[in-house]
């Protein structure tokens, strides 16, 4: 049977999104309610629905499916909600507290009234093991196996179901870790085992140990979920590959995702960014800022020259995870952020949020305090009859909440609502500033890609604040993550620390390190014909005295040519110069990590089909009274799916799509891309208009 379909599945907090794409690039999408207790139930329900839409049985659909790519929040939720396994740690004797020391750092500098967090593994489950490897990899103290067995027995008796193993310098010599893992497997056959030299074979014990512990903590949860999911899929007749999307946007097989569960912590948002990257390609924009604004949080990332910024400096829920992930800035603000006016602090929006319960006042679930969503409703940006299926939005409740803020500030209702809108936009702009200006990137050379439920209401104004001239709202905005998983290449990445930072220039060793990594990576990316596979080599390097490494691409360097190490070093100098304006060619250079990525090209088809051009002018479906540039105006209202390439819309205007609404103001102009996406030319910033919004100066306490 031919297998024309590929399926992308993105499990979110509320909905699970599905996209089926055929060989011609035709897509069918659907959403099902997520089932947090066991996400695999919702997945199977959604697949049933997807099959129905294709007029197939589930078994038929699965039999015709070439692969499934899946983004999951199982790991994320287990960590955020602290619902991972009871975890034990085996570590080098004398170094029991690496996890809890957190390198000496405490967040929130001036808050001294703050109790320390509970570590994922309490001290009594962090067991010291007599052994020691030196910095050069030599065994200084042999592994004391009888003592190790006693410690393992103690963990077993304490009810531990997952064991992390991290010994000092194991990135140089993993013999003791390997032996300890064997003993754990023998004595605790059911336990999940997480070994630092496999999870993150890199120098710096806190990062490696913390990542290994996180992996152990969420590993059993991920394993349980994957077992259920693969079981259900097999039952339903699927025998193709299931790939899991990782935090860095690469994919991996299920068994590898279980072994490296910590690598799936940002699996969900990574799909969105992969989608954004595919969108960027389709619209021919190399520099894109994906802007994903939802109810409680907003995610901002950066695509430069078609590449997504990566980082290994992040963590989640206060836990350090040093695996590479997409560099995603998550701001705890969105539609639910609360406006408040405190003496001294003055007027602010967020960081407090109304959350899902009670939610914004207009949701009618008991919230009475003004949120960003309430201000959007009062400003006319949202349709009170929207969310009709859920009972609509309560305009009176929103007005009452806004009035309360207005009274405190001595402003009119509209002024207060416009103020809330402006402030949340400034906050979002701050986020973009962090992702761009702070990294020395000028946002004005970027296109903003707007997706996520609340983004369209704010994106044009946020872009204007930052001097960004173009905003694109893709038609697939509502299922961008699932779509992105299908439209992205398959990417698998491996890395390791160099044996010795100082001696990396030894060309024989260097060649062997990269060749071995490449072999490993190729092995793990199955089903790919060599012709469709490409390889990227890179390294993390720094000057001897620096502490921040930079990523240096080694593509195009011939590792068989004598003297290639000098070219590697020169690449580093040039990259450093690009980033920081200078290079120090006389200084020692260290290579800390070697990296190899293997990329399997995916046939794209035309991932988003082109839409037939328009025949005539855009027809508004009605008008809406909205607040724009300091006044209430009657703005035309368009349905996004009634628009086609060739249509031109001038602001002020409202464009409504399935799951988002886009607001244009005077000076903004929108056209449609060949794929039917909204392409907005952002009007210039007008200080006087902004000043008018708050035309009546107010005094505050």
């Amino acid at each position: 049977m031919s297998k024309p379909y590929r399926i992308g599945i993105d499990v979110g907090g509320t909905f699970t999104d599905f996209v089926a794409m055929d060989e011609a690039g035709g897509t069918v999408i659907c959403k099902s309610a997520s089932t947090p207790e066991d996400q695999s139930i919702g997945v199977l329900e959604g697949l049933q629905d997807l099959a129905r839409r294709l007029d197939l049985t589930l078994a038929d659909l699965l039999a015709r499916t070439e692969r499934i790519v899946h983004g999951t929040t199982v790991a994320t939720n287990a960590l955020l909600e602290r619902k991972g396994a009871r975890t034990g740690l085996l570590t080098t004797a004398g170094h029991r507290d690496i996890l809890e020391m957190r390198e000496g750092l405490k967040p929130d500098r001036y808050n001294l009234l703050m109790a320390p967090p509970e570590p994922l593994v309490p001290r009594d489950l962090r067991r010291p093991v007599t052994e020691r490897i030196g910095q050069d990899g030599r065994i200084l103290v042999p592994l004391d196996e009888p003592a190790l067995r006693e410690e393992v027995a103690a963990l077993r008796d304490a009810g531990v179901t997952s064991v992390a193993i991290c010994f000092l310098h194991a990135y140089r010599n993993s013999e003791h870790e390997r032996r300890a893992a064997e003993i754990v497997a023998e004595m605790m056959p059911e336990a999940y085992v997480s070994v630092s030299s496999r999870v993150l074979p890199q120098i710096k014990e806190y990062e490696r140990l913390s990542t290994t512990v996180v992996n152990a903590y969420i590993g059993p949860v991920v394993r349980r979920y994957m077992d259920r999911l693969t079981g259900r899929l097999a039952e339903a007749g699927y025998d193709g590959p299931l790939y899991i999307i990782l935090s860095h946007g690469g994919i991996t097989r299920v068994e590898d995702a279980v072994a490296l569960a910590a690598g799936t912590c940002l699996s969900g948002p990574a799909g969105g960014i992969a989608g954004a990257r595919a969108c960027a390609e389709l619209i021919g924009a190399g520099n894109v800022i994906p802007f994903d604004m939802g109810g409680t949080s907003t995610e901002i990332s950066l695509i430069t020259d078609g590449a997504v910024a990566l980082t290994s400096e992040r963590g989640l829920a206060g836990e350090r995870i040093a695996l590479r992930s997409y560099d995603i800035l998550s701001i705890g603000a969105g539609g639910g952020s609360l406006a408040e006016n405190r003496p001294g602090t003055g007027f602010s929006v967020g960081p407090q949020s109304a959350g899902a319960v009670p939610g914004p006042a207009c949701y009618g679930r008991g919230g009475t305090r003004a949120t960003v969503t309430d201000s959007n409703l009062v400003l006319g940006y949202l349709d009170p009859d929207a969310f009709a299926g859920k009972g609509g939005l309560d305009l009176q409740a929103a007005e009452a909440a806004i009035d309360e803020v207005a009274a405190e500030l001595g402003l009119t209702r509209m002024e207060a609502a416009a103020g809330i809108h402006r402030l949340i936009n400034v906050k979002m702009a701050d986020g973009i500033r962090l992702m761009t200006l702070r990294r020395g990137v000028d946002p004005r050379n970027f296109t903003m890609l707007s997706f996520g439920g609340a983004a369209g209401l704010h994106s044009v104004e946020v872009a204007r604040e930052m001097g960004i001239g173009r905003v694109v709202v893709p038609a697939v905005a509502s299922v961008l993550s699932a779509w992105g998983m299908l439209a992205s290449d398959l990417r698998l990445e491996v890395s390791r620390s160099l044996p010795n930072a100082g001696g990396w220039e030894d060309e024989e060793i260097l060649r062997a390190v990269f060749d071995t990594l490449e072999e490993q990576a190729r092995e793990r990316l199955p089903g790919m014909t060599p012709g469709r596979m490409s390889v990227e080599r890179s390294a993390d390097m720094r000057y001897g005295e620096q502490i921040f490494e930079i990523g240096v691409s080694l593509d195009g360097i011939d590792f068989d040519a004598p003297g290639f190490a000098a070219e590697v070093e020169e690449r580093f100098h040039r990259r450093h110069e690009e980033l920081y304006t200078y290079a120090s060619r006389g200084q020692d250079v260290d290579m800390v990590n070697a990296r190899v990525a293997v990329i399997g090209a995916v046939p794209r088809g035309d991932a988003a089909r082109e839409v037939a051009p328009a025949t005539g002018r855009a027809q508004p479906s009605g008008t809406r009274r909205i607040h724009s540039a300091g006044a209430v105006v009657e703005a035309p209202l368009y349905a996004m799916d009634s628009l086609a390439p060739g249509h031109e819309i001038a602001g002020p205007a409202v464009v409504e799509a399935d799951t988002t609404t886009v607001i244009l103001h005077s000076g903004d102009a929108a056209s449609l891309t060949p794929h039917g996406w909204l392409d907005i030319a952002v009007g210039p910033r007008d200080r006087s208009a902004a000043a008018e919004e708050v035309s009546q100066p107010a005094t505050i306490d």
Partner: protein
Amino acid sequence: MTDSSNDPIDPISRAVIQHRLSAIVEQMGEAMLRTAYSQILNASRDFSMGIVDRDCRLIAQADHIPVHVGALPWAVKAVEDRFGDDVAEGDVIVLNDPYAGGSHLPDVTIFSPVFAGGARRLWAVVRAHMGDIGGATHGAYNPEAREIWQEGLRLPPMKLADAGVMREDVIDMILMNVRFPREFRGDLDAMIGAAHLGQRSLDRLHAEFGAPMVGAAIEETLNGAETRTRAIVADWPDGVYEGTAYLDDDGRGREDVAIRARVTVQGSDLTVDLTASDAQSDSFVNSPFANTQASVAMALAYLIDADIPKNDGVFRILDVKLRPGTIVHPREGAPVTMSTTHPANEIVEAIVRALQAACPERCSGGWSRRFRMSITGRNPRNGRNFVWHLFHARPGGGASSAGDGWSGAGEWHSVGGIKFGSVEVTEARFPLFFATHEFRPGSGGDGTYRGGLGTSLDLRVEVPAFAHTAGEGIRHGAAGIAGGRDGAPHDYRMVTAEGETALRTKQFGIEIAPDTLFRIRSGGGGGWGDPAARAPEARSRDEKLGLV
């Protein structure tokens, strides 16, 4: 100075401007971090950024090093006093003199003036701790110094750039007087870059909103911080409160050097009188005027809500009384290098000890003291000389009304802000071996809430080397507060074939034979509240986790 301080401003513009001001100082700090050369800057982040106005009022400041809070206005005052109206666009001014707005010599400060509407309005200020500043010893910590001229190069306020033209001759003079001129120049360029970045961002802010509106927003921001601070202090009972903290010694035989704080709470005003403190020393433990001011400001910052912006509004409620000739206000010429840690820590502790009677729930148990140690020698692996500074073995943080203290989180002046380097990286780079580096059980001060634990470090030095110390806290542990007990003091020992010796706090040139072991036990944080009130579950948990 602002010509619009009485104009009302709409709350939205005010919030936007307020946001931008803090974004600007953050952005300056980020640029500094990325571009700095030396480890003390890019790893330990020993620098700070501020915006100060012509009236020497702190407008905004990035949260980097607490002891720099409130220090920058005094630096600006020295610049204003020296140059007055003789400041042009494009000037860059430098200073480090502890007797003219500086703290200690390694802390160099750079100023970039900000003009708007034809008038000078603000300063973008960058302060950073340089790796070396000349003088008798590397890095300026010289226990032998009897006068400031033995500690390094003194820079009064002077111009490094004149209307946009760098004075390379002046820079050459500075570089000639420091040990690592290339590194120094790299760090200096990073500082100037960060100050320029701040100045340009402030130019844009002025262009967008106009100087009067920016000025009005600044007034309201400062007033807002003052309002919130006053609301807190007004809740404390009026009265006179006294507290004392001690330096172990001055390294010259004087022990228990006292810092005495007499704090008067009257309504929402605070007077901190340190005039009864002991006489100045002829060693480097003196705290010059601006550093003492900054230390008092740091104490206040720890007592108010963490989210109140640290600006001039907060410090308006303070009146600090000092007497010349004391350890907290030495006469010009006395050496001062230790002051940013000691007696800065003791000044904070004396004030917190005094105010525990007024606002116990806001007073944290004592954070620890800093015991600095460096080791120098030759690294056989690369044949080069090395200098290693001890940032490991972090001591414990204080307990508080919110719970137990943070173990291994540090001293009053850092409060969890100093990152120690990876043990693996340290072993790979230096001829050092970390046999043990974990919590030190029993070191946290007892209390309703227990102080954080210090750290046990057994460090073997594999080669012949020299060690230097410049520390405090082997006699006095971190203060217990509100009935809590003091944390255990530090205990640093050197173990050789001949036996064991306790290290003194201020010792220069300790000779180290190969394979000498340093047995370092850093102090714990002070406890908070009556130990009798500690929950039995908390005690049994401490037992189970091996923390006591």
